[in-house]
Subunit: 225 residues, 2 copies
Amino acid sequence: MLSAIVEDYLKAIYYLQNETDGRVRTSALAEYMDVEQSTVTSMMKKLSERNFVHYEPYQGVKLTDTGVPIALEIIRHHRLLERYLTDHLEYDWAEVHDEADRLEHHISSQFADRIAEQLEDPAVDPHGDPIPTADLDVSGAKYEDTLADHQVGDSVRIERVPDKDPALLRYLSEHGIHPGTVVDVVETTSFGMVTLDPDSGDEPVALPDEVARSVSTRSLTKGAN
Amino acid sequence: MLSAIVEDYLKAIYYLQNETDGRVRTSALAEYMDVEQSTVTSMMKKLSERNFVHYEPYQGVKLTDTGVPIALEIIRHHRLLERYLTDHLEYDWAEVHDEADRLEHHISSQFADRIAEQLEDPAVDPHGDPIPTADLDVSGAKYEDTLADHQVGDSVRIERVPDKDPALLRYLSEHGIHPGTVVDVVETTSFGMVTLDPDSGDEPVALPDEVARSVSTRSLTKGAN
DNA sequence: GACGATAATTAGGCCCGGCTAAATTTATAA
DNA sequence: TTATAAATTTAGCCGGGCCTAATTATCGTC
């Protein structure tokens, strides 16, 4: 049996290794999990003994073929819960993350499958993150474009926004920015700022580059796709 | 913050002290929680330090005014979840207990209130156990009658069945016995057996006294409520 | 009222998941 | 190339929740 903590580490490693495209460093995990590095080291040894990760001292870790599906199962739970909480239990976009973060470890697969069924197997969660299927397929997970990649004049559709920061989510929500929203890029500055004009008629929104880089998009004007 | 384990102990004490109408003995708790007595003793000291129970060595424990509402909150979560799982997620009567037993510790009050709202504030869970209200009122909790109290010829309505034993629940379900079912007592034996004839037309069902004592009923023939 | 049976507690240990402080390895830069 | 900085690991401790074995208190009985 797996503790919630172990599941959290595996999930964290999954996210981090997709970002960095290689081994996950102790320091990165420590920051992500908000624990000391020494704590991470000892946990990595345990995960390694259980064959969830490849661990080489001083070189970081990588999920094994055993570890990946565990992480994906948790991520599936998380995203289904987020979808369910917003669609069926009137949760606000910005509120769902914490609730899902706890429950993901405690619902059965049966529970997950039942809510997936009620939701008619949604492809993405409320932030636009793809929901792994019951057999843990994540092929719908490609988002190469971000807001920061676009030029003034581009028209793009928002595909995904980061889900960890409630304040940002509330801000975006108030300005009518959701996955699916179409916006025009009206200004980019040398000091790291992007301004968007939503097609919905909402007022223009300004975002720091940092944020823009974490908002996935699909280009509408530049053809292709 | 409270661990799931601490919550479980408080819930167990609540149940046991309602059964025995007094202090809860270490041995009773140990059996209920399926741990060693020494484990209970050390936990009782901790709960006592936190002011959740009155603990007198060798004399057992009793929930304090701080402990009771904690237990009731968990029980509310549990019973709402059972209701929700059966009504909205197609869970079977016999399946809900384990899922609810895990989730009760991890849903927020907000979650509980949302599902209560969707269910339109149900009074009882699928086994007939009363659901504490949001302000933890349990005045609907009086069940003095049980199947074992009745005579041959009595007509009674089933009000509540024990929820912990899936095999029993499946058996009852197969024989059409639910809260709300009306049955006639057709036989009682000296060797501890009660036979019921459901008004629904289902075949008669035999139950050992042990079980009959744990099935709450409401008398229909003997007048007075 | 003393005695054995039973219940409860104490003592001491284990594993988990954290921590701090010290040692060690790796990376950087003179 | 070597010194120093930074990252990582090791060593050792702590609290939570469990255990076994040993001790002590309470209870039912004679």
